[in-house]
Symmetry: C2
Subunit: 254 residues, 2 copies
């Protein structure tokens, strides 16, 4: 049997850093999803096996906490493992190490498996003989808090954008990473000059399609801590639109 | 001495395909730039060596012509080589092969090397002992036309956008790939349902900074062939704004 923790060493590409030269958090999120895919595939519960039986993995929650991020051209390592498997959800964790094996940060994610046609969740404890359960890792710790409650009061969107060709993935939806980019784009250069992201959370609720509009509502709930809600097609047939996702961003001084 | 043609095998990641499951052209462009970087570095004229002496490579022109693009999860290979070196420019070509070694397409690019402080171009024939000249490949062909003349007549922008955090690279500029994404986002889903891109050209003229606006002007010069001009800060101090880049996109029926 394959080891429970998967380990993947990557390099920071030049177009994957922000103006400070650090890996973009959207790109880190993309790497997490790829590593989750590799890890699952290598252990027999990947999307290729799943798709044959008309099921797919869906990311529900993501929480990332960071001390630091690797710089342009540096190598870094992502480890990932399954912490828990419930009937309808599984918890997958990540750890990020820099080139000298120092911890950059950790992440927690929550996934469901759904039937592509009915969009109904599958029972993870029985699917594929329940072999995912054999890979639950109990010893490796992920010392960050679980995703928290996010509540936004603002009634006025801070920004409304249309969704275009580059936003859309193979399923016809805005891809999970694009929401992260659009949310981090709500902050100014002056802000990023002095602050870095300590914690970032996403809670995915509904899908968005090519041509739908996304409205971003933002509350500063504490000094440097923002709760953000994304709603689609606000002002349309349903005036208040439909909730798409929620996010929390915690900044600290650099 | 290293072989003149560099060859790099990559895999198409899930978040790097469009709704049809084909590799995004912006991502392909990103891979080209990375492969150019690897190729140059392995042969002693990469950006790391150059930066020590305060010089950097700048992409001036890019023309891509495609029969096909690889699908999600498939491997593909990019080959790159230097075709010519002039005093102020060098021509670098690319070939793209699918997993079965069929040609997907070719690309031509033109680069200058500039001094970071003065922004003045360097003499490529003398820099670093002129060793780039040793790597000119004369046998491998790149059977596509050179970048053409692009001329836009439209006086009304089709779209104007602000530039945000995710657009900006380590140099503080909108990165070369983001322009490609924004330009391809000018076309609708219906359009992409029936058409694919046969040829795509970019001519980079000036840099854009965080917070500047980009306006996109588009002419259909022939059936399915579009000339596009991007100007920044239109309607500001200089009413007609400043030219940032030009692009040509040639679509054919799928």
């Amino acid at each position: 049997m394959k080891e429970k923790v998967g380990s993947y060493t990557l390099q920071v590409e030049p177009f994957h850093v922000d103006f400070s030269g650090k890996l973009l958090i959207g790109v880190l999120g993309n790497h997490f999803l790829n590593c989750a895919g590799y890890h699952a595939k290598e252990r027999g519960f990947g999307i290729a096996e799943i798709n044959e039986s008309n099921f797919t993995w869906v990311l529900s929650r993501l929480a990332i906490e960071l001390n630091d991020l690797p710089n342009q051209y540096e190598t870094f390592t992502i480890q990932t493992w399954v912490e828990n498997v419930y009937r309808l959800f599984t918890d997958r964790n990540f750890a990020v190490y820099d080139k000298d094996n120092n911890v950059c940060g950790y992440a927690r994610s929550v996934w469901a498996m759904i039937n592509i046609d009915t969009r109904k969740p599958a029972d993870l404890l029985t699917l594929h003989g329940g072999n995912i359960v054999d890979y639950i890792e109990t010893e490796k710790s992920c010392p960050i808090e679980k995703p928290s409650r996010i509540k936004v009061g603002s009634a006025m969107p801070m920004r409304t954008i249309e969704t275009y060709y580059s936003d859309i993935d193979i399923n016809g939806h805005v891809n999970s990473i694009k929401y992260i980019e659009h949310i981090l784009d709500l902050f100014s250069k002056d802000w990023y000059n002095n602050k870095r992201i300590k914690r970032f959370e996403m809670a995915y609720v509904a899908e968005t399609y090519f041509g739908e509009t996304l409205s971003f509502y933002r509350d500063e709930v504490e000094d440097g801590t923002f709760d953000i809600e994304v709603r689609k097609n606000v002002g349309g047939e349903v005036p208040e639109g439909e909730l798409v996702c929620r996010s929390k961003v915690v900044f600290v001084n650099k």
